[in-house]
Amino acid sequence: MNSLVVKERILDRNYSTSELVLNGKPIQGTNISALLRSTRPDEVDLLYKTKAKYTLDHVESFVVRLFDAPKIYFPKIDKINNRKDSLEKFIDKPIRDPFEIFLKSMVSLPDVGFEFLFYDRNREKIHDFATLHDELNPIIDYLDLLEKNKENLKESPKKFVHVNKLLHDAFWQDLFARQEAKKREAMIGRILDYERKYFDYDSPPANFVDSNEMFEYAIQINETSQAIAYSNERECATSFTLHSSILLDDDLMGKLLEYLQKDKTKLTILKFKELDLRAKVDYTMRDNFKSLLSTISEIKSAKKNKAFMLLEAGNQYAVCLPVFDLVSRSLTMIDGDVGFGRNGGRGQFWDTTKNYPRRAKEMEQVFDNDPEGFRQTNEVGSGIFDLKKLKNSIYNKVRRQYFLASLNQQAIEMKKHTLDGTSEIYLNQILRNSELAPLRDLILN
C-alpha cells in the first residue's frame, strides 16, 4: 500500500520538521517538490540529472500536472516498464535503468490542475489529456463549448470573462445533477486510474473553488476519490485548489479550517491561485492566511500522522516552509512564468538575498560584483565559473538547478534551526532585507 507515515516530528512551538515515508520512500521535511512541466528543457530529465550531480537532501519529491504528463512523464514510465517486462523474460535480475533508480527514491505526486478549466491557459493540454479516454469526454464537450463562446465573443472579451465563469460553474453544476452522477464518477474513476498507474499517491480530481457551492462539490469529489482509492488499497490525499478571494470570505475560510480539522486523511494538499500576499497589501487576506498556517500547525501538533503540502507556493513559500511538510514551486520560479523569450532567451535567475527572481543581466552583475560570495550560496552556485558566459541553453538549465538548490539550502537550514529551537529567528532572517519582508506579519511564533 502507498501509505504515508510520519516517522518523526520535532516541534519548535508553532513550527515543526518531520521525517516522512511515502509509498516506502523516506523523505525529509520540509521537502521541496519541483513542479515539472516543461519539455524545453525537459524538466523531468533535468531533475534526474540534477539529483545525480548534486546532493539536494530536501529535494526528494516532484509534482507533474496530469495534463502535462502524457508528454513529459508517462512515456518515460512506460519505457521503463516495457524494458523491465521484456528483460525479465530472459534475465533473472536485469540491471536497473538509472532513471528507474532515481524514481525509486523520488516521490511522484500528481496535480490534476482542474483550475485550468476556469483559466484560459493550458486548456489545449487538458483537451489533449481528455482524449486519452472516453470517460473524460465531459471535459472535451465543455472545452468545445467554451471555445465556441470565446469565438462568438471575441469582439467583447470583457463579456467573455463573465460567460467563462458562468460556463465553468454550469459545467460542475451539471456534473453534480442527479442524472449525471455516472458521468462524473466515471471521470473521477478514470483519472484515479492514471494516478494509480503513474504516481506514488492519489490526489482527488477536485474542482476549482471560488464559492461555497464549489467548495461543497470539491468535498464530494475528495470523499469519493478517497473511497475509490481505499478499495484499491491506495491512500488518497484531501486536496483543495482555491482562488485567493476565499481569503476574504470569513465564512468559507471557517468552513475550510473546520473541514481540515475534522478530515481523517493523512495528506492534505492545498493550492491557492492568484495569491501574492507580498505584492497585495490586504490585511484581511494576510490574517486569514495566517489563521490557515496556525490551524495547520495545531493539527500537526495534535495528530502526529498528518502531513500538509502546498502547491504553487509562490512568494508565500518562505513563511510556509516551517509549517507545510512539502512545498512545491515551479522550476521556472514564478508559477506561470513563460516569458523568458522576452529577455534574449535568458530567463530570470534567483537572487538568494532578495528571495526573488531577477533579470539575467541584473544577476550577472550581482555575480560579477562578488563571484566568491555567489559561489558560496549553494552547491549549484559553487560550480558556476562565470554566469555571463553560460550559453543560453546551459543557462536556462542552470537557473532552474540554482533555484532548486537555493530552496533546498533554506529547507536544510530551517530544519537545523527547528531542531535547535530557533526556527522563528531563521525565518525572520530569510524575510528580513528580502523582497518577502512584508510577510513577516505571517510569522507564527
Partner: protein, 165 residues
C-alpha cells in the same frame, strides 16, 4: 456487542456507490465487506449487520458473500435454521510473499493463515489490469498436515503432464 468498523474503511452512501463504474463499485464493496468481516472475525457478522453498517443493498451483500464463500475467503456458519454468520477465513500471519508468473498481468500471493481449524498456507492468484487495479482471481488453502502429500502429488502430476506434452 456492536460490530467494529475499522478506521481505514471509507464509507460512502450506497446512492453514491451505485453511480460508480462497475469495476470501482465491485472492488469497493468487496473491500468494505472483507475489512469489516476481518475486524469482527471473533464473533462474525450476519447479512443484517453488514446491511446496517454499510447501507448496501441486501442482494448486493449476499452476492458478494456467496463469491467469498465459494473462494474460501469467508466461512458461512449456520446457527439454527436460517441465521447465517459470516467470518473471514482467519488471520494472516506476517507479510505475504509474492510469486510472479511469466505473464505480467498476474501473480500469486502466499499467506500464512491461522484460525480455529489449524494453520494453513493460503494462496491467492491475483490479476492486475493495465491501470494497476489488483483483483483476486482464485484462491487455494492447504492445511499444514496435508502440505507434504499435496506437494508430492502436485509435483508428480506436473512431471507427468509436462512429460506427456
Amino acid at each position: 456487542m456492536s460490530p467494529k468498523i475499522p478506521d481505514e474503511v471509507k464509507l460512502v452512501s450506497s446512492e453514491t456507490v451505485k453511480s460508480w463504474r462497475v469495476e470501482d463499485r465491485e472492488k469497493y464493496i468487496d473491500k468494505v465487506i472483507i475489512d469489516i468481516l476481518t475486524a469482527n472475525s471473533d464473533q462474525g457478522l450476519t447479512i443484517d449487520d453488514l446491511l446496517t453498517i454499510t447501507g448496501f443493498d441486501r442482494r448486493t451483500i449476499s452476492s458478494h458473500l456467496t463469491k467469498f464463500v465459494a473462494r474460501g475467503e469467508v466461512f458461512k456458519e449456520l446457527r439454527g435454521k436460517r441465521l447465517a454468520i459470516y467470518r473471514t477465513n482467519g488471520q494472516p500471519v506476517g507479510k505475504p510473499e509474492f510469486v510472479k508468473g511469466d505473464l505480467k498481468d498476474h501473480y500469486f500471493r502466499l499467506y500464512r493463515l491461522e484460525n480455529d481449524d489449524g494453520n494453513f498456507v493460503y494462496i491467492q492468484e491475483r490479476e492486475v489490469d493495465s491501470f494497476k487495479r489488483d483483483n483476486v482471481k482464485g484462491v487455494i488453502k492447504i492445511r499444514d498436515e496435508e502440505m507434504q502429500e499435496f506437494i508430492k502429488k502436485l509435483h508428480a502430476f506436473a512431471v507427468r503432464v509436462t512429460k506427456n506434452e
